[in-house]
C-alpha cells in the first residue's frame, strides 16, 4: 500500500495543529459556529442529533493492520467501544467529545491517517473496488490512481468550496464493484484497440433525491491526462453548478440541465488550458505509486518453479482438504470467500452483519483482533467495502479453516455475504439529523424475520438497501429491494422499490406502491420474495426476474394480501 513520505507526515501534523487552533478559537468564542462548521466539516466532524460524529477517511478502503489497530484503540479510548463502516468505505465514530477531536486526529496522524475532506462541499474520499489487486478480472490495479487522486484533491486550492460534495470512484476490473455509474465522476480503466490503457470517464451519476445513472463524457482518456481532465470537469462544475438550491447543486443536475454533449464541450474548452503544474503529474510519480502496490507473492501451484529458486516450500502442499468435510465451513467458504487470481490464495469477506449487531458496526475488540488476523493471514492489510463489510484479500487457501474458526470466535464469520441479511443501512433517525425515519429497527426486524440460513441460501444473492431519508446514504435506489424511510405526520413509513442494481449495468429501482407501515416491512419483503421464488426461472437472479416480469406480480403479491 501507499507509504507515507516525510512530506505527507509533516503536512498531516500541520493540518492537525491548524484544526487544534481552530477548535480552541471556537471554544474561546473567537470563531462563530457557522464559520467553524465549515472548517470542522472539512476535518470530518459533523454535529449529529445527539452528539458530534467524526468520520475518518480510509483512502480507497485500504487499511494496514497497524491502522486498524489504532482505529480500535480510538473506539475504546474516545468513543463507546465501536465504530461504523460507511458506504464510502470510511469509518465513523458517533460519540467523540469536541475537545478531544484534535487529540484523536493527532493519534490518527501517528498511523498516517486523517479525516480530511470526509465531509463538506469538496472532493471526498475516492472509493474503489475492494478486491483490487486480488481479483482475476482486473485490467490494472486502480489503487495507484486513487492515491494520485487523493493527493491531488487534498486541500486543492481551487476545489475546496464547490456547490456541493463531490465523489469519485475508480474501478480497474471488468466487473464493477465500485458503483462507478452512480458517482459524480466514475472512472473505469480500459484498453483501447491498440492495447493502451486509459480511462472511460463517466459523469453526473448519483443517488439522493434525484437519482441519475452517470453518462460517458470521454470513452478513452489516456492515463497521463487524468488530473487535467478531472480539473476541467471540476472547474466547469465549480463555475456553473447551481448554488441557489442545496438539492439541485450536485453535478448531475448541471450535466442533465445542459445535456451531456454541451457539458462535454464546456469541459473540452477548459481542458485545452488545464496544464497547471498543480493538475499534472510525471511518469515517475505514477510509476513510484504503482511500485507501492505490488502483487501478493504467488502461492499457487500453477507457477512452475525453477529448482534453484530459493522460494520456501509452497504451503499448499499441505493443504488440509479435510476442512471441506465441515458443512458449516463449506457454507461460509461458498458464501464469504471468492477466487483470488492466485490459486494458492482466497479472498475472504468479513461480514459485519452478524445477528444482533447493527449493520456495519465493528467493536474495538473486533478491530484489534482482526488486525492481528490480517498480520497472520493476509499480508497485514484489510479493506473496507461500500456494502459495509471488510475484506482480507490474500488469505492462503490452507489457512482458511483456521481463519474461519478465529473469525467465528469474533462473531465475524456470519455466512451471509451478498445474502438477504447483508443489508446496507444508513444510520437513520437514531443518529442522523437529516433522517425522517429509523433504519436500525427495520434492519433488526428483517434480520429476525428471515433468521433462517437455509431459506436465505435458497434465495441466493439478494441486496436490501435501507435509507432513512431522500439523501439515500443507504443507496436504496440500487438495491434489489430498496427501503426508503418517509415521515408522514410524525409517523415513520417505508417506501419500497424493487429492481435496482449497482453492478455493471446499473439501474434504479421502481416504486412498488404506497408506503408500508413500520411493523409490516419484513412481512412485505417476505411477500415480494415469495413471488420471486414462485416465478423465477432456474438460476435467475432477483434483478433478472424483475427485468423480465416487471413490478406487477410483486406489487400484487404485497398489496393484494395487505388489502
Amino acid at each position: 500500500m501507499y507509504q507515507y513520505t516525510e512530506h505527507d507526515r509533516s503536512f498531516l501534523k500541520e493540518r492537525v495543529a491548524e484544526f487544534r487552533e481552530q477548535t480552541e478559537r471556537r471554544l474561546r468564542n473567537e470563531l462563530g459556529e457557522d464559520e467553524y462548521k465549515q472548517l470542522r466539516l472539512r476535518n470530518g466532524l459533523y454535529l449529529q442529533r445527539k452528539a458530534y460524529m467524526l468520520r475518518v477517511a480510509i483512502p480507497y478502503g485500504l487499511l494496514s493492520s497497524a491502522q486498524l489497530k489504532k482505529l480500535g484503540h480510538i473506539a475504546r479510548v474516545y468513543d463507546k467501544d465501536y465504530g461504523h463502516i460507511t458506504t464510502r468505505q470510511n469509518i465513523q465514530y458517533n460519540w467523540p467529545q469536541l475537545e478531544e477531536v484534535p487529540q484523536i486526529l493527532e493519534e490518527l496522524a501517528d498511523v498516517d491517517m486523517h479525516a480530511i475532506q470526509t465531509s463538506g462541499n469538496c472532493i471526498r474520499n475516492t472509493t474503489t473496488d475492494p478486491l483490487a489487486g486480488a481479483i482475476a478480472d482486473e485490467i490494472e490495479d486502480p489503487r495507484p490512481w486513487c492515491e494520485l487522486i487523493r493527493q491531488w484533491s487534498t486541500l486543492h486550492p481551487e476545489f475546496n468550496w464547490l456547490p456541493r460534495k463531490f465523489k469519485i470512484a475508480v474501478t480497474g476490473a471488468l466487473s464493477d464493484r465500485a458503483a462507478v455509474q452512480v458517482h459524480d465522476i466514475g472512472l473505469r480503466l480500459v484498453k483501447n484497440t491498440v492495447g493502451e490503457t486509459g480511462f472511460e470517464v463517466l459523469v453526473g451519476g448519483g443517488l439522493g433525491r434525484t437519482p441519475y445513472i452517470g453518462q460517458v463524457i470521454n470513452e478513452f482518456l489516456p492515463t497521463q491526462h487524468l488530473l487535467t481532465y478531472l480539473s476541467a470537469i471540476l472547474r466547469v462544475y465549480n463555475l456553473e453548478g447551481r448554488r441557489d438550491n442545496l438539492y439541485k447543486a450536485r453535478i448531475k443536475i448541471l450535466v442533465n440541465a445542459l445535456g451531456i454533449d454541451a457539458f462535454r464541450d464546456k469541459v473540452d474548452a477548459q481542458w485545452q488550458h488545464c496544464n497547471d503544474i498543480d493538475d499534472t503529474f510525471t511518469q515517475t510519480q505514477i510509476d513510484e505509486l504503482k511500485a507501492m502496490f505490488p502483487a501478493a507473492p504467488t502461492l499457487g501451484t500453477v507457477i512452475l518453479r525453477n529448482a534453484s529458486d530459493d522460494t520456501p516450500e509452497t504451503p499448499e502442499v499441505n493443504q488440509p482438504d479435510q476442512m471441506f468435510s465441515n458443512p458449516l465451513f463449506n457454507q461460509w467458504y461458498q458464501s464469504n470467500t471468492r477466487a483470488h487470481r492466485d490459486s494458492g490464495r482466497r479472498i475472504v469477506y468479513v461480514s459485519l452483519k452478524a445477528p444482533g449487531q447493527p449493520a456495519g458496526d465493528i467493536t474495538a475488540d473486533q478491530m484489534e483482533s482482526l488486525a492481528a488476523l490480517a498480520d497472520q493471514y493476509s499480508l497485514g492489510e484489510i479493506r473496507t467495502t461500500h456494502e459495509q463489510n471488510l475484506v482480507l484479500a490474500h488469505v492462503p487457501v490452507n489457512a482458511l479453516f483456521d481463519l474461519w474458526k478465529a473469525l467465528g470466535g469474533l462473531k465475524l464469520a456470519t455466512p451471509n455475504l451478498g445474502k438477504l441479511t447483508d443489508m446496507i443501512v444508513c444510520p437513520g433517525l437514531d443518529y442522523c439529523s437529516l433522517a425522517n425515519a429509523g433504519t436500525l429497527q427495520i434492519y433488526d426486524q428483517i434480520y429476525k424475520h428471515f433468521d433462517n440460513l437455509d431459506y436465505m441460501h435458497e434465495l441466493g444473492d439478494i441486496s436490501i438497501k435501507i435509507s432513512g431519508c431522500m439523501n439515500a446514504c443507504g443507496h436504496h435506489h440500487v438495491g434489489d429491494i430498496g427501503i426508503l424511510g418517509v415521515d408522514k405526520g410524525g409517523v415513520e413509513w417505508y417506501q419500497l422499490t424493487i429492481g435496482g442494481h449497482a453492478g455493471n449495468a446499473a439501474s434504479l429501482g421502481q416504486r412498488l406502491g404506497r408506503a408500508i407501515a413500520k411493523s409490516e416491512v419484513a412481512s412485505a419483503i417476505e411477500l415480494i420474495l415469495k413471488a420471486y421464488i414462485e416465478l423465477r426461472e432456474p438460476y435467475e437472479s432477483f434483478h433478472e426476474s424483475v427485468q423480465r416480469l416487471g413490478t406487477t406480480p410483486f406489487k400484487e403479491s404485497v398489496y393484494a394480501t395487505a388489502a
Partner: protein
C-alpha cells in the same frame, strides 16, 4: 479598509470601487484610481475609451472575456459575496494560469482568515478586509504549512 498586499500591511489603498450607476471620473480630474465592473470595462474598451485600469469581478463573471485585455489591467478584484461560494478561486486561477495575468489580484468582500491560504494558492496576492483582522492569526494561517500536495502558485505573500 485594511489591505494586506504581497505580505505587507498597506496603509494607503487608493483604489475606489465604482458601482455601475456611479459616473466615471472626468478626464484629468480624477484624484483616485477606480475599479469598475467587468461589464462596464469591456464596454469602455470596446469604445476605445481606456479610462480605467482596474476591475472588480462578480462570482458569475466569465474571466475569459478579459482575454484581450489582461495586459492593460493593473488590478483585478475578486469579490466574494459569501465566503462559501468558491467561484472566485476558479476565476483567480484562470486569470493567473490561462490568461497569465501578472498584476495585482485582490480578494475583497466576505474574506475569512482561514480561507486566505487557499486564496493565496489560487493566485490571489492581496486581501482587502472590511475590518481589521488579527494580524498574528493571519500570519500563522498563511505560513503554517511547509508543504502542499499541489506544488502550486508560488505563495506570493511570502515575498
Amino acid at each position: 479598509m485594511p489591505l494586506l498586499r504581497n505580505g505587507q500591511w498597506v496603509k494607503q489603498n487608493p483604489w475606489i470601487r465604482l458601482e455601475d450607476d456611479e459616473p466615471l471620473p472626468q478626464s484629468n480630474k480624477a484624484e483616485v484610481p477606480v475599479v469598475c465592473s467587468l461589464e462596464r470595462y469591456i464596454a469602455l474598451e470596446n469604445q476605445h475609451q481606456h479610462l480605467v485600469s482596474g476591475i472588480w469581478l462578480n462570482a458569475a463573471d466569465d474571466v475569459l472575456q478579459l482575454h484581450d485585455h489582461v495586459d492593460h489591467l493593473q488590478l483585478v478584484v475578486v469579490d466574494f459575496a459569501v465566503y462559501t461560494d468558491g467561484r472566485g478561486y476558479s476565476q483567480a486561477r484562470m486569470l493567473r494560469t490561462q490568461l497569465q495575468f501578472s498584476g495585482e489580484l485582490r480578494a475583497s468582500g466576505d474574506i475569512r482568515p482561514d480561507q486566505m491560504l487557499f486564496m493565496a494558492r489560487a493566485g490571489i496576492d492581496s486581501f482587502e478586509f472590511s475590518e481589521q483582522p488579527d494580524e498574528k492569526l493571519i500570519e500563522r494561517i498563511l505560513f503554517r504549512f511547509t508543504t502542499n500536495y499541489q506544488p502550486s502558485y508560488a505563495l506570493p505573500i511570502a515575498g
